[in-house]
């Protein structure tokens, strides 16, 4: 397929639209997760979504994004609850608690997934594509769902920007001011879960965290202003979604989800190297030029005061 075919093919156009919105919204909400040092939490919520989706499928017997959303959200809540119980009532630190919950939920999810695959209607369920995503399985209603949820995510982050900002920078001060910090904590987690659920079909639970975190990390390199970072992160996510989808349609048989993630990684490397001020090249350049300037000055001084 060449580019013209892609643009004119209605099916691809829909998928492109879906991954675009997915990248945009996960980049936006991911910024807050990253700044709140909850990168691993995003990964845990993504993995925990799998058993939630399986249970939703077993209970309803249909492959419906809205039921999956509910299942994943409930599983995410249980996971978050377990993490807070583990950290509060034992000496286990947060990273270990996240690790335990992530792997056990995912293991449980895989067991259920295998059960579903072996059952009579399992093969048609297509649930296995949720591991690494498969855009080919997306239908128009999925894209509508992705767009709706994206819109809600971006709208929410805009409306509560001030609160999310304070919560990310100084939760203690926010609490002292009377903000319902615990509620907002859960609220942001639910937004992350929503991003995970719409990302599952395209990118899959295993790789979803990278779509939340990588654009945010890339965006951080370019700016010192939060609102610009959030917008940039959304743009990086969007570009990753688009380029990943385009590459996978042009080169046959390459999986879209991993390509989206790899595109995000390319943007990350680009940012890390070439960003002004924070980038690697610019800081090396700064160091070298400072050194040069200093030694030149030294020489000049020596020259002017011959001893």
């Amino acid at each position: 397929m060449n580019i013209l075919d892609i643009i004119t093919d209605p099916n691809t156009r829909w998928i492109l639209l879906g991954t675009m919105f997915l990248g945009l919204s996960s980049g936006v909400i991911g910024s807050f997760a990253y700044l709140r040092k909850q990168s691993l939490l995003g990964d845990t919520l993504a993995h925990a979504a799998l058993p939630g989706i399986c249970v939703a499928f077993i209970l309803t017997g249909v492959k419906s994004t809205s039921f999956f959303l509910i299942g994943a959200a409930l599983a995410g809540l249980v996971a978050v609850f377990l993490i807070s119980v583990l950290t509060r009532y034992s000496k286990i630190k947060q990273d270990a608690a996240l690790g335990i919950v992530l792997s056990s939920f995912f293991g449980f999810g895989i067991v259920m997934l295998t059960q579903i695959q072996q059952s009579e209607y399992g093969n048609q369920s297509g649930l296995d594509t949720f591991l690494f995503g498969q855009t080919a399985s997306m239908v128009m209603s999925d894209v509508y769902m992705m767009m709706t949820v994206s819109f809600i995510l971006i709208f929410t982050c805009t409306v509560f920007f001030k609160e999310f900002k304070l919560l990310s920078f100084d939760p203690g001060f926010a609490k002292g001011m009377g903000l319902p910090v615990v509620f907002l904590d859960y609220f942001i987690m639910m937004l992350i879960v929503a991003a995970v659920v719409i990302g599952i079909q395209a990118v899959g639970v295993v790789l979803m965290a990278s779509l939340l975190i990588t654009p945010a990390v890339s965006a951080r390199y370019w700016t010192e202003r939060l609102h610009i970072m959030v917008i940039l992160s959304g743009i990086f996510g969007m570009l990753s979604g688009v380029s990943g989808t385009l590459i996978s349609t042009t080169v046959n048989d390459l999986p879209t989800g991993p390509l989206i993630v790899l595109s995000a990684t390319v943007w990350f490397f680009f940012s890390m190297l070439f960003a002004p001020k924070r980038g690697v090249l610019s800081s090396v350049w700064r160091r070298v030029s400072t050194k040069k300037k200093y030694s030149l000055e030294q020489e000049r001084r020596k020259g002017s005061h011959p001893s």
Binding site: D170, G172, F173, G176, M177, G178, E224, M229
Partner: protein
């Protein structure tokens, strides 16, 4: 004084079952600078955080000017420890100070011109106007502390809680901060400060609270800040030398 600026009754706070602050009761009169002094692990920061409801308390009643803590939230200012936040956050000094206005703004409203102006005034009071657009990680420790102070000023509170505002700042900043605290006091505000440096207690504070899990003593500094009570608070671990100039010299 008709009403205490702050009244704490039977406050107990525990981490992992062990009480850190136990059955603390005290009253603080309006318009005073109060130093909270005590050894490491005495629960100084915990006490402040407990009063502000940042950490759950087991028991206790907090009243501010005769009203419940919740109803008085807007008249409370807070300066957390500088290390409590990540300074490599994508924001500048002015933005942080504006956060002090968020509580007055309420939900959904965005900070605008009025907030910006207020924040600039507060930056001016701490001598940081020229740093308004500086990214906060590019500020020195003392400057960061001043930003936190400016943010608390922007809260326009009646009672301030400051958690070790003098830690890690240079002499100039310390002077600037204490001058500001005196000004606040002059305006009838009440300021509670967690403090470490015993040598400056007499100079800085009208009132002193000696804390070691319990309130050992609280009252006017000249009555409370005496060797006998200090030894009691620090468990006899202080070497106190009499000194004619400051009255006390501690090592």
């Amino acid at each position: 004084m008709d009403q205490a600026a702050l009244k704490v009754e039977n406050l107990t706070i525990a981490y992992h079952k062990k009480p850190v602050v136990e059955d603390v009761s005290f009253e603080v009169p309006e318009g005073n600078l109060i130093g909270i002094i005590g050894p490491n692990g005495a629960g100084k920061s915990t006490l402040i955080k407990g009063i502000l409801e940042l950490i759950p308390k087991i028991s206790g009643e907090i009243t501010i000017k005769g009203s419940t803590y919740k109803s008085m939230r807007k008249s409370i200012g807070y300066v957390p420890q500088r290390e409590s936040v990540d300074w490599d956050f994508p924001t500048n000094a002015l933005d942080v100070v504006m956060m002090g206005r968020y509580g007055h703004l309420g939900w959904l409203k965005r900070p605008g011109k009025a907030e910006r102006q207020k924040a600039m005034e507060c930056l001016d009071k701490v001598g940081m106007v020229e740093y308004a657009n500086r990214q906060i990680s590019q500020l020195s420790g003392g400057q960061q502390q001043r930003i936190f102070l400016a943010r608390a000023l922007a809260q326009e509170a009646d009672i301030y809680f400051m958690d070790e505002p003098f830690v890690g700042v240079d002499a100039a900043t310390e002077k600037a901060i204490i001058q500001l605290l005196m000004e606040l006091k002059g305006k009838g505000k009440t300021v509670l400060v967690v403090h470490h440096d015993l040598s400056t207690v007499k100079e800085y504070f009208d009132w002193t609270m000696l804390l070691n899990k319990k309130v050992m003593k609280i009252g006017p500094t000249e009555e409370v800040f005496i060797p006998e009570y200090l030894q009691e608070t620090y468990g006899g671990r202080l070497a106190i030398l009499s000194d004619t100039k400051s009255g006390l010299l501690l090592k």
